[in-house]
């Protein structure tokens, strides 16, 4: 098997048709290269998104009110309504599966113009009213100071937690913002903390560019009464959030006299479902990658089979002589198979190495680029697993064998006499 003569023969057979061998090898090379790069890129996208959302409570759902969609009990269609603070306690009391429930109110920068002033600096940021529990649903890293606590809520303190970007634009880098004051829509608030989002999920604007006030403070300062714009809940461990979601809708609709069949009045997003969809998307990307990759590879393999056929046609006489002087069919077949496997494996291995090399390069470049520290990207650590690499190598050898099969059987159909008589 590992006789020098044999390798000599393989080399001569391939070297005789240099251009054709190279083009064929390129077909296989390209197939495996594309497979690796696409699989790696898909993995990178998946890593990026998963890392960006990993810490977000997956069993959470969010609700907000809209105009009613159905007439009900004397109310006409299109009525404006809103949830209120009482609903929160009401839901807590009636749905034991709820782990956390927190309202969130917004007053945005809609209408434009700066709403935040400090000394000569000014900026335009989202302002949100939050409860302490909110950070358990949408986690954020506290870079400095603290998050809103129960006392802030109870005393309606005029304090605020600012996003990292807010700090950067309203303060000097070396300044300590804690204890300083910001003027937000004409009212002064004391800064108690600086936060950075841990996820890439945005709820009414990026956390980095937001200012969070205690919920009760916001109700009072902005004269919101007991309106609740938005509500976040998480289900207890082991309970699908979809069930809680349905239950919340049912109770709220009943309480606010909304038609049970009204799909529009209380809108919601279920993160569990979104995650499932996302996972489906990644599965789709993976499947597509393999279909396209294997397709390209198959084209390459067919090319190899084709060139082997041509080689055999050209070597009819030689094969005839070999058989006349005593080469057994097995020797001839194994020779051709080996040639085919060598061609596919060498070119495929090259494609594999260069593909992995490219992924590594992209990885290095991305790790070194400073922008990734603040601005999160949806693309992290593109790579292929050892299993993928090994299985593609296995597929290659198998493909090489398959590619050699038709040419080898063709070679066996050559009758030595025909070969020798062919002038």
């Amino acid at each position: 098997m590992f006789d020098l003569d044999r390798w000599n023969e393989i080399w001569n057979a391939l070297a005789k048709n240099k251009v054709r061998s190279l083009l064929t090898a390129f077909g296989v090379f390209w197939g495996i290269f594309m497979l690796i790069v696409m699989a790696g890129a898909g993995k990178g996208l998946q890593n990026g998104v998963t890392q960006g959302t990993a810490k977000f409570a997956a069993n959470s759902a969010f609700f907000w009110s809209e105009q009613t969609g159905e007439p009900y009990k004397g109310f006409k269609r299109g009525r404006y309504w809103h949830m209120d603070s009482e609903d929160i306690q009401f839901l807590k009391d009636n749905i034991p599966e709820i782990e956390y429930i927190t309202p969130r109110n917004f007053t945005g920068r809609w209408g434009g113009g700066s709403n935040v002033i400090r000394g000569k600096k000014n900026g335009s940021f989202n302002v949100k009213g939050d409860y302490p529990d909110y950070i358990k649903i949408d986690p954020a890293t506290i870079l400095n100071g603290r998050w809103i606590n129960e006392l802030d809520i109870r005393d309606k303190r005029k304090v605020c937690v600012i996003g990292e970007k807010v700090f950067e634009s309203m303060f000097d880098p070396k300044e300590n913002p804690i204890g300083e004051y910001l003027k937000i829509s004409g009212v002064y608030y004391q800064v108690i903390g600086v936060v950075r989002a841990e996820t890439t999920i945005n709820i009414n604007g990026r956390t980095e560019e937001s200012i969070c006030l205690p919920f009760t403070t916001m109700l009072q300062t902005y004269n919101m009464g007991n309106t609740v714009n938005f509500m976040a809940i998480t289900a207890k461990r082991g309970v699908p959030v979809s069930i809680v979601e349905e239950r919340v809708k049912e109770l709220i609709k009943k309480k606010h006299v909304i038609a049970p069949e009204d799909l529009q009045a209380l809108n919601s997003v279920n993160i569990e479902k979104e995650f499932e969809q996302m996972n489906g998307l990644f599965l789709g990307i993976q499947i597509l990658t393999w279909i396209v990759g294997i397709g390209t590879l198959l084209a390459g393999v067919i090319g190899v089979s084709n060139i082997m056929l041509v080689i055999i046609k050209e070597r009819t006489k030689e094969i005839g002589v070999q058989r006349a002087i005593g080469a057994t069919p097995r020797m001839i077949i194994s020779q051709i198979m080996l040639e085919s496997v060598v061609l596919t494996t060498v070119s495929g291995y090259l494609g594999l190495s260069i593909g992995v090399g490219l992924l590594e390069l992209v990885n290095k470049v991305m790790e070194n680029s400073p922008s990734t520290t603040n601005d999160r990207v949806f693309f992290t650590n593109p790579s292929v697993s050892l299993t993928v690499a090994l299985s593609s190598l296995f597929v290659l050898v198998l493909a090489g064998l398959l590619a050699g099969l038709i040419p080898a059987s063709r070679a066996m159909q050559i009758k030595p006499i025909d070969a020798l008589r062919e002038e």
Binding site: D3, E9, E318, V321, R323, A324, I325, G326, P329
Partner: protein, 237 residues
């Protein structure tokens, strides 16, 4: 050495069947130097192929060295060929990317003899045929006569009992032809059976027995003593 009885062979050509050998009887003793002659279509190539186990036959029997050759599978046929028969071809059929020594050594490669040993044996055979200095040359660097001598060395190296030569001088000029025939004669003198297929009368006349084929049967067998008469007859024809 060779006993053929009532040999039939036909080729299927689409719907037609071409009956080439029609009940041929042939006996060749060990150590004979035989030429098979005949016009094209007489069946001499077919006979050679059957003798060389390169082709199967339809009816009859063929014993080679006391062994019945019939319906062998490819592997067995290849082994028997390797062991019993040395082939010499009209167009030499050397492998172009192997040098003279490697070409000669090829049959031993199929016998799984180590590279070093088979190359050494090949050199000995090349030496015997006066080609030692040419051992490292590729076939394209050799003359026609040299190529045929390499091919003869290749046929001899597996120490077969029969040498089958298909028009061995067909591609050579007359001086080189004589040279090759001398070598074949020497081989025969050493006790090997040599069978040549040729259409050249003067080449056939150098053998010890001529078998003339016509229309798939043996028309005439001319033995050693009659060769001179044969020569005269041919020259007057």
């Amino acid at each position: 050495m060779i006993q053929i009885k009532d040999l039939h062979k036909s080729y299927e050509m689409g719907h037609n069947s071409l009956h080439v050998l029609k009940g041929l009887h042939l006996d060749i003793e060990e150590g004979e130097f035989v030429s098979i002659m005949g016009s094209s279509g007489s069946g001499k190539s077919t006979l050679l192929n059957i003798l060389g186990i390169l082709d199967d036959y339809d009816r009859g029997t063929y014993y080679l060295g006391g062994k019945l050759i019939q319906g062998l599978n490819e592997t067995k046929a290849a082994l028997t060929r390797n062991e019993m028969i040395g082939f010499i071809f009209q167009s030499f059929n050397l492998i172009s990317f192997k040098n003279a020594m490697e070409n000669v050594a090829l049959p031993l490669y199929y016998q799984k003899i180590s590279r070093k040993k088979r190359n050494q044996i090949a050199l000995e055979y090349l030496d015997r045929l006066g080609l030692k200095e040419w051992a490292r040359h590729l076939p394209s660097e050799l003359s026609g006569g040299q190529k045929q001598r390499v091919a003869i060395a290749r046929a001899l190296i597996s120490q077969p009992r029969i040498i089958l030569a298909d028009e061995p001088t067909g591609a050579l000029d007359s001086a080189t032809s004589l040279e090759v025939m001398e070598i074949l004669k020497e081989i025969n003198d050493q006790g090997k059976t040599v069978i040549i297929v040729t259409h050249e009368h003067d080449i056939a006349a150098m053998t010890k027995k001529i078998i003339k084929l016509k229309d798939g049967v043996i028309e005439e067998v001319i033995k050693n003593g009659e060769l001179l008469a044969f020569k005269n007859r041919v020259s007057t024809e």
